[in-house]
Symmetry: C2
Subunit: 498 residues, 2 copies
């Protein structure tokens, strides 16, 4: 993909997110990081707009077909507006058989994805690799790894970088439908983490009294609770929370049953209102017992502390979290959590306050897209660069056989979003690998091909009608390198890769 | 399945392995464990005969159809000969529509499998859980885990308990087609092993200077080298050996590249002649460099030492292994391997001598079934109880999507073995789980169901024709419990399980 930058005609192309000005008619919270918000919004607007520009530009191209110098002008328009060089052969025969707009759409989505992915790994636009301060803070709080499972719903894809304002490189994020993470896989990750502490003192030595903190983030909708909650749990918020808690408890018990010497982990359950991005945190007691009916509410704490000076607000948030925990332990008889856990929760609440103001300032206090509005499906293993809300429907899977249910949901969503408009479902199949393992790249490529073939077998009609297209990409996650495109259903590998 | 024991009519049912007497016309090697051989043969003959009795008994049943008291007598015959209670309803309507011999055959295979599997976990007929002495010996030799990958070919399924005479519980065995083991999975296993040493001192503490020993066993045929070698490598012995070595090197390099602090592993490459069960061991140098063109030959060492007293033979084998290593290191310039590696190899050769004599005494020096003669396909994860040659075609897989190539080979083999005779392919889908992990059993059952459904989707014609039947079983491998049958394509769950 060529690096041509999007041009300047965007204003007249409708739906322009980046021209939006923050709404400063209301006072911001004293703890809100205004600069971070501006930077984050710039990134969100820029990325989403580059996808949302595709349809208007292609409509223009379609309308130009009968005009003089069509081929030349179409290539120019696509280059200046969508930032990539369309191969001549895509358009040369249009005068005979018309333009294949489905192909052009899928190609545009893949080229745009490729560009934003490259930017992410090359320039780190969110600064998420700057993790040292958070690593230290986390260890001070008594944890050597923060492992977060948000729901795979696209409306939680920004959970780490936006909602919680954490450096993505410092957090293990693995999304699952309904937040129902894979217990066996997480036990393995725990063992690997312990081994590194013992063997290599990473991130700290094994004698440090820190723990693995497993966190689940479930979600709900304050605007339309009965319809826009978690689909995997039938928009039943209580069920979503309970299912997340059960999975957390299963993981803790798996560790305790499998390993001796007092092995255990700490647990945290967080709820997210996908309309306002405000979180609620279920404060665990010292034994990781979690009460589904009690939480500290980010929104409420925002309101209570909004009139204070920053330091006062910060101190007060910690006080309120501590008071909540104390009251809870009086009523349940459990021990209050360690101070480190309280400090971490207070910090998450403080971080979330910036996000609450972000949604207020840039999204009128509540997102316009309260439902699904993803731009493509990401299937496979990887996608660290996806840190934006409603950009990607994410199906974490090693095989379509195991991930069939998630894929079917994704195809259903995109049947509404795209197929109903005659547009294809763009699927990006991705497989990250560890470059230090000989043969790993070749196996990752083979995995991509296997998954793409299985998708074709599962959705034969869509594929035959040109309504499902698949880009295949791998990435060496040890090297911190950009993705490598290894194939595409659209055409020859060469054309997709450049 | 009822525990009825097979009756005594077997002699007239043809192909009777257990009536065979050992051929003692030749002298045995002084190091051969005669008692062990008799015990092992008793087990092999008993198990295989219980499968091989099925067809003759069912032929008898078929022939009885027009005789008086058919139902009653058929049930009796099946009970006394095949050792299980056939449900009445299987046979009650035979007078109308005839007997469904395919169903009866598949059911008989599944019941027989169930019985031998139960016996294995209940009575440990091979004594393979008696591992303490070998564990100590292995650690004395400088290794804390012996991880062996034989080829998934059914002719290597007895590699641990027979060919190498090791207690199966002391060895990690994971079979792969062509011995091409999963590097990523083995790296994970290495990390878990290290973690247990650090955290729990199992099997020894991390400061003990022992290593993880990864072994590949490839195979070849001395009788028909061009056709009965490893199918995955086109019966090309050199290719089979080289592919195994490359995988070993990739694993070692993966560990060294991924972990610091001098992390490494030791490697061993063994070849097996599937006609005689004699092994050849490629002696590695001190840096795990392996020469594909040199090996110590179990058969040759057998011949050299056969006239000696046991202690003298034992000492001489070690001497010969040491001399081989010394000569090899003179010619290649590498350092000779550590004494522990030499001792382990000598022990494996000594163990293998018993097996050479086993094949000589009980199988006329070379197996009659030099090709495939498996009794069923085992698909999934588990099957520790399969320790017999040519009993099971093993497809190690978590999903049919990934294991499709292996399954296709298995189906092809059984098309020749069974379908060509009108008999169905019996597939046992198995998923072992760790009972200490909450929800693991339910997930294992779901995995079984998913795999069985995927098999049905991949081989629809065979299934529709009653030519592929599937038993589903799970097992809590932490509990050391027998398998639990959770379903069957033949009928209601209840009927298959009892």
């Amino acid at each position: 993909m060529s690096g041509g930058r999007p041009g300047t005609q965007k204003a007249r192309l409708g739906g322009d997110l980046s021209s939006r000005q923050p709404a400063f008619n209301q006072r911001l919270h004293p703890l809100t990081d205004v600069n971070a918000n501006a930077r984050l919004f710039d990134y969100e607007a820029r990325v989403k707009e580059s996808f949302d520009r595709i349809v208007p530009v292609l409509k223009q191209v379609a309308a130009m077909q009968c005009e003089p110098r069509f081929e030349e002008r179409a290539l120019e328009l696509i280059h200046s507006e969508l930032g990539y060089e369309l191969p001549h052969e895509e358009i040369n025969h249009a005068w005979v058989s018309g333009l294949d707009m489905r192909r052009l759409f899928a190609m545009s989505v893949f080229k745009t994805y490729r560009r934003i992915s490259d930017e992410f790994y090359t320039h780190d636009p969110l600064g998420g690799r700057d993790q040292q301060a958070f690593d230290s803070f986390l260890q001070d709080c008594g944890f050597h790894l923060l492992d977060v499972t948000p729901c795979a719903d696209g409306r939680l894809a920004h959970a780490i970088s936006y909602v919680l304002r954490l450096p993505y490189a410092a957090v293990r994020r693995k999304s699952y439908a309904g937040s129902l993470f894979d217990v066996e896989n997480t036990v393995q990750k725990w063992a690997e983490t312990e081994m590194l502490r013992f063997r290599e003192g990473r991130p700290n030595t094994a004698d440090a009294p820190t723990r693995y903190l497993k966190t689940v983030m479930y979600h709900f909708s304050s605007v339309d609770p009965a319809h826009q909650g978690c689909a995997a749990h039938g928009s039943d918020d209580e069920l979503a929370a309970r299912a997340g808690l059960e999975r957390l408890q299963a993981f803790q018990q798996a560790i305790e049953n499998t390993y001796c010497c007092g092995a255990s982990v700490d647990l945290l359950l967080i709820g997210l209102d996908t309309d306002t991005d405000a979180i609620r945190v279920h404060v665990p007691d010292r034994d990781s017992r979690i009460d589904l009916t009690r939480w500290v509410d980010g929104h409420k704490l925002y309101e209570i502390t909004r009139g204070m000076a920053p330091e006062q607000a910060r101190a007060h948030i910690l006080e309120l979290v501590r008071a909540h925990a104390a009251e809870q332990s009086r009523s349940t008889g459990g021990d209050a959590p360690a101070e480190g856990m309280l400090r971490l929760i207070a910090q998450l609440i403080e971080n979330n306050i910036s996000q609450i103001d972000y949604v207020r300032a840039y999204h009128q206090g509540g997102y316009a897209d309260i439902g699904h509005a993803e731009r493509f499906i990401g299937a496979g293993i990887g996608f660290e660069e996806i840190q934006l809300r409603n950009l990607t429907y994410f199906a974490y899977l090693a095989t379509v056989e195991e991930g069939a249910a998630d894929m079917d949901v994704g195809i259903k969503i995109f049947s509404g979003l795209n197929v109903s408009r005659g547009l294809p479902v763009p699927v990006i199949v991705r497989y990250d690998y560890h470059g230090g393992v000989p043969g790993a790249r070749e196996r990752a490529v083979a995995h991509c091909e296997r998954i793409a073939a299985a998708l074709k077998a599962r959705y034969p009609k869509l594929c035959a009608d040109g309504l499902l297209h698949c880009l295949r990409a791998v990435r060496d996650c040890d090297a911190g390198a950009p993705i490598e495109v290894v194939g595409c259903s659209l055409q020859t590998q060469a054309a997709a890769a450049h």
